[in-house]
Symmetry: C2
Subunit: 138 residues, 2 copies
DNA sequence: TCTTGATGCTCTAGTGACTAGAGGCCCTAC
DNA sequence: GTAGGGCCTCTAGTCACTAGAGCATCAAGA
């Protein structure tokens, strides 16, 4: 049996966050000891590990709830789990694409200040004027 | 003079968002007409354009507030504007790096389901087990 | 056994950047 | 004059936590 603090250390999820996951129904309510403190078994550890990993991969708590719901009847809903994973992948790729455009524009803006005091300060002007941007962003 | 709705259409910032920016002191309070409705001049339009563009570039409202504060005394604080822009660039690059790792892991996980029913369903298992991951993420 | 300090408990409120809705007032065009 | 769209304020909700208050419990050492 693990205390909430041990669970936290083992998974890297902070204590208040664990209680929050329980509150919103993501993590099943564990048993309590005589002093009303939470006591977790291996299943609680596994569930929290699943959540942590999926969160690190950028899944929303809503998605994770759906994924965990599938866990009971795996065979049938493999397609559903796959769908969620693929949609998350598309999401991540889209974010990368947008961020690349932002980075290139920020580079352009930063270079305006390279010469020291000479061409300064075009940074604020560039930020105020989208028409100077090479491509579309957002 | 523009109404809040006209400003919204021109800049692409939603009406409640404009009021929100005013509430938090990012956008200066405009004048009002006889019926207590906001009326903006070109300066309001420019300020909102600046905010919009900087938001699209991923700057926080806090950063934008700092950037706009510099506007009055540009010469001196070019260095500060440049510092904020560069730190934002570093930030974006870091997010891209992390997202690339996530994408590659998500690709790996998605491929587990490629064969249809054969190897199904490893997706949920993979999500639950970080030790299967090739690299570090987050 | 007693004490001490870490850990645990519940509850409320705050974060950032909005978004939604209620209930009412104003403006413009017909 | 009236219809309907736009505008007003205010409150509360979103997501995924985070912080703090004020108190109870636990484990280890004296």
């Amino acid at each position: 049996m693990f205390s909430i603090g041990q669970l936290s250390k083992a998974t890297g999820v902070k204590v208040p966050t664990i209680r929050y996951y329980e509150e919103i129904g993501l993590l099943p309510e564990p048993g309590r000891n005589a002093g009303n403190q939470r006591r977790y078994g291996q299943d609680g550890m596994d569930a929290l590990g699943f959540i942590k990993h999926a969160r690190d991969l950028g899944f929303s708590l809503e998605d994770i709830k759906a994924l965990m719901g599938l866990d009971g009847h795996l065979g049938d809903d493999c397609a559903e789990a796959d769908r969620i994973a693929r949609s998350q992948l598309a999401n991540v790729r889209d974010r990368i694409r947008k961020l690349r455009q932002l980075a290139s524009e920020l580079e352009r803006i930063s270079h305006l200040c390279d010469g020291g005091n000479g061409g300064c300060c075009k940074v604020l002007t560039a930020l105020g004027d989208h028409s100077q941007c090479a491509g579309e962003h957002e």
